[in-house]
Structure formats: C-alpha cells, structure tokens
C-alpha cells in the first residue's frame, strides 16, 4: 500500500472530520450513500456561484459553461463505463429511475402474457418492484433465480430459467447491497444473450468499487446512482446499448427531448436528449464529473488492494466474534458486511453503536426477500469505501462489544 496514502485521502472528505454525539464519526454506511470529496462539493458550489445557466438552450456564457460541464460529464461517464458512444449515456435521478425507465420504455411496449422477466433472489426493491409493475401492466411473469445459503446465485439457476423459455429480460445486481455478493455478470449476460434475452445490470453497489466495462460485460443496460459514487444526490446514469436504447419510446415528455412540437404532432430528438426531458440536475451532474475526475487521480490498483485488505480484516474480526452471525458469505464479495447478533435486535445495535459515533445501517436494506431467505427481520450492515481504515473496523468491533455486554 505504498502508493496509497489513506490519511491524504481522508483529508479530502470533510464529513469524516466531525464529531457525532461527542465521538469522531466512524462512517460505515457508504452503501447507503457515499461521502463526497471536497472537489465535488466545490464543483457544485461553483455552478451555483458562477455557471448559473440552464443548459442546451442559451447563447450566454454562464449557460455555455454549464452546458460544457454537463456534456463533459457525459463523456467522462462514457469513458468510465467503456461505452462506445456518449449518446449511450442517459442522466437520470438515480438507479431507481434508470431501472424504471428500462421497465417502462423497453419492457412495457414489448412484454405480454407468456413472456417472463428474470431477476435474482438478492435484488434491491428498486430492481424488483419496477418489474412487478410492468409484469402487472403487461401480463408477463416475474421469475426468480433464488440465492443459496451463502447468498450466491448459482449460474445453473439462471440457466435453468432461461432454458425453460420465454425470458425476455434478465435483470440483476452486479453487487448485492444486503450481502455484498458479487454476481458473475459477464457470464449472466452471455447466457441471457444466447437465449435472446436482454440484460439489465443494477450496478449501484459495484461502481463505488470498480469501473465496470459495459462492452466487456456485454450487457444491454447498466444502471447506477451518483450519490453512491461520491457524487451529489439526485443523479444517476442509465447506459444502454445504442441499438437497443434507440428503439425505446421516450420516458417523459417535455423540454429538450423534442425535435419539434405542434399541437397536432410532436417529433422526438435523438439520443441522449430524447430520454432526458426537462431541466436536469445540472449542478449534480457536473458534480458527478468532478467525482469521476477525483477518482481518476487515485491509483486504482492500490485502492482496490486497500479495500480488499480492509474487507478481509473486518470479515475476520466479525467471524471471530462470539454470538455474531455473518450473513452473506459468498466467495466473491465486496463492500458490504451484514451480520446479526444472537442477543440484540439490529435496531438496537444501530442505536447503541451510533452513540459511539459508529454509523451503521440496520434494517431490511430495501431487500426484504433477502431477509426472508435468511429468516431474519433485519440485519446490521457495515459497508466500506476506500476512505475507511482499520481504526474504523476496530471501532465497529468495540461498539458491537458494548451492545453485547448490555444485552447479556
């Protein structure tokens, strides 16, 4: 870890340097929303302090600057995802909207009774409910490749469903937010393709830890949220393979997505504008550009080595903890460590560790079916980002010990 100066990195994240209830904040909830580096906060302020202008439509300089920043981010995202064209990048308000857009604009006009949408047993509600809605609207059927006891989705289970026929869409998380399991995305996309299904990847929990290459993955759609990628809230991305996305009907009607409007007939603009109706989150998107620029300054090999080392350290510490049950033990995991105490309910854990400054997430993590699969009402979840260090993990363990002492 010689190239990786954790203290220098932590210095870039102002939120880390605050006290919470009299203790230094230990932030282990990055899977819910990531902290923002100074560069992002400043980029957002600069838009509001200087580049005050709506985009695409005006000739004045502040508006031009805003437009350049906004469209510049599109090119950065294209590079980040390894997409072929920048018009394959659509800005949305988050993963949730990205997935709903695919369900409504790709799925709804194409699905009908007899068709199936395949998801997995570890999905976030955002990758379940949109498909349930479109299935109800079209008569298609939602089918599920369930998880095993480790929280993995065996490829055979996916293949089985595909072989049974009728699957038109396969939608799955790249990385599970409740369990940390990493799914074999490339293999699943290839399976989908060989059965004439399109693939939709929910990358919300993957992008904070890796730059996925959509061309290499071979997916048709890839969705993520800016706020989990160290970028502002209210931003997100939908990547869509050009041919597939270009055939989609518009999601919303309004400004910027049209070529011409008369009361009798409206024609729509090309991609990406066609799918971006109305004034977008300009400052947020420019902030996302700043986040990607910041990430580019890091040595990613070192970052990933640091994250892996930290994950192992945390995982071992939790496993050695008597009376604690780790949930989600897939061989390939990252970022997220869920657990359950024999003696205390997760909600109590959350409250107690908070008083020691440790920010954990407790609850169902918007993945109620996962909770059901493991027979628990909720879990406690520690999630990591590259700005975490061993001291954070030590604080976690010590605070969980407090919980245990209290309840036994």
């Amino acid at each position: 870890m010689s190239d990786f100066d954790i203290e220098a990195i932590r210095a870039e994240f102002p939120a880390l340097h605050q006290e919470v209830r009299g203790k230094k904040l230990v932030y282990l909830d990055s899977a819910a929303t990531a902290l923002k580096p100074k560069a992002v906060i400043e980029a957002v302020s600069q838009v509001y302090e200087r580049d005050c202008g709506n985009i695409h439509r005006a000739v004045h300089l502040p508006s031009q600057r805003a437009t350049q920043g906004y469209e510049g981010t599109r090119k950065q995202v294209q590079a980040f995802l390894g997409a072929e064209k920048s018009s394959e990048i659509i800005f949305t308000s988050g993963t949730t909207q990205s997935i709903n857009m695919v369900a409504q604009c790709y799925g709804r006009p194409r699905l009908s009774a007899g068709d199936k949408v395949l998801i997995t047993g570890l999905e976030h509600h955002s990758n379940i409910v949109p498909w349930q809605m479109v299935c109800e609207q079209t008569g298609a059927e939602l089918v599920v490749a369930h998880i095993d006891d480790n929280g993995e989705v065996p490829l055979e289970r996916i293949e089985q469903h595909l072989k049974a026929g009728g699957v038109r869409i396969v939608a799955f998380a790249h990385v599970s937010n409740a369990l940390g399991s990493v799914l074999p995305a490339k293999e699943i996309c290839a399976l989908a393709k060989s059965h004439d299904a399109i693939s939709v990847i929910d990358g919300a929990q993957a992008v904070p830890h890796m730059a996925p290459n959509v061309t290499d993955l071979g997916c048709d759609f890839y969705a993520f949220s800016g706020h989990k990628l160290y970028a502002p809230t209210g931003t997100g991305v939908l990547y869509g393979r050009f041919d597939v996305m270009n055939a989609m009907s518009p999601y919303q009607g309004g400004g910027d997505m049209i070529r011409s409007v008369t009361f009798e007939k409206t024609t729509y603009a090309e991609l990406p504008n066609r799918l971006e109706a109305g004034t977008p989150n300009i400052a947020g998107v420019i902030g996302m550009g700043a986040a990607l620029s910041y990430l580019q300054t890091l040595d990613w090999a070192a970052v990933q080595a640091h994250e892996e080392e930290l994950f192992r350290y945390a995982d071992e510490a939790l496993r050695e903890f008597k009376g604690l049950r780790r949930i989600g033990t897939a061989k390939h995991s990252m970022g997220v460590l869920s657990f359950f105490l024999d003696c205390a309910h997760p909600h109590d854990i959350g409250t107690i560790v908070d008083t020691e400054g440790v920010a954990l997430r407790t609850g169902h993590h918007c993945a109620q079916p996962v909770m059901k699969a493991f027979g628990v009402p909720a879990t406690a979840r520690a999630s990591l980002a590259f700005y975490n260090n061993r001291a954070d993990i030590d604080a976690l363990i010590s605070s969980v010990r407090t919980v245990q002492e209290m309840f036994s």
């Binding site: 309910h345 909600h347 109590d348 407790t362 609850g363 169902h364 909770m371 909720a378 407090t402 209290m406």
Partner: protein
C-alpha cells in the same frame, strides 16, 4: 457508555425485552390488531378481551427490537383491568413524553416513566409507540393493519 443510552436501555426495559410479560394470546379474545414498523422490521399482534369499556385481559406476540418488545410488555401489564378512558389518558402522556413534548405525570405513567429516555432518540419513538397504536386499533376494531411508516 453514553448517559443518554443508559437512560434509554434501563434495567426495566432490558428485563422486559428479554422476558416479555403477557407474551401470549388470551383465550376468548374478542379484539385484535396487527402492527408493523417496516423501518426496522418490528411486527406484533395484540389480542385482548374487552368487556364493556374494560380490558379484562390482553397479550401480544411478535418480534422486534428491545424497545418495541419492552413497550408491548409493559403496556400489557399496565392496562390489564383498566378502562379505555384511563388508558387513553396514560397513552396521551406517554406519547408526549417519548416525543419529548411533555412532562412525565408520575401518577399516570408509573413504571412507564422509564421510557422517557426515548425522547433523545427520535428514530426510536415509533418502536415505543407501536404496541400502543396497535392496541388502540384493536379496541376500535377497525381491522386496519397499523404501520408506523
């Protein structure tokens, strides 16, 4: 340990959460309701025997955090044998206290005063009131599932 926390998890609360009283459904119950707190996965069912205006017997079952279990347990102990009007008075004060919006009336609350510490933890107010809301729906017999979301 943090003193607010000690206030919240008092012995009485820990004791009730570990060994909840009236954790059973009374035979011949004529009222019941279900309550959920989707945020943390608490859920419980309250059943009771209402005779005129009086709760003759009451019990609950379900799972949840220590606060919600202790609240249900202490509630059932407290209200058994009481009439609805008195119960409402108690809940009104209890509610104000856990919301941090009112003073404890010791005469009304008795042992329930231990829940005063909840006021420092706004995210836990729902845990402390779920059982009470659920009981009220059981009394009203409106068939609604209570949710605190």
């Amino acid at each position: 340990m943090n003193s607010d926390l000690r206030e919240l998890y008092q012995e009485v609360i820990l004791d009730h959460s570990k060994a909840p009283r009236n954790f059973r459904f009374p035979e011949g119950a004529n009222r019941e309701a279900e309550g959920n707190n989707p945020l943390c996965g608490d859920n419980l069912t309250v059943k009771l025997i209402l005779d005129g205006d009086t709760i003759v017997d009451i019990g609950f079952q379900g799972s949840g955090c220590a606060i919600s279990q202790a609240a249900a347990s202490t509630m059932t102990e407290m209200v058994k044998g009481m009439n609805v009007e008195d119960i409402n008075k108690i809940f009104a004060n209890y509610h104000d206290v856990v919301m941090g919006e009112g003073q404890i009336d010791e005469d009304l609350l008795g042992k329930l005063a231990v829940f005063a510490g909840v006021a420092e933890f706004p995210m836990r107010v729902k845990c402390a009131t779920l059982a009470w809301h659920t009981m009220q729906h059981a009394i009203a017999n409106d068939g609604e599932i209570v949710t605190t979301e």
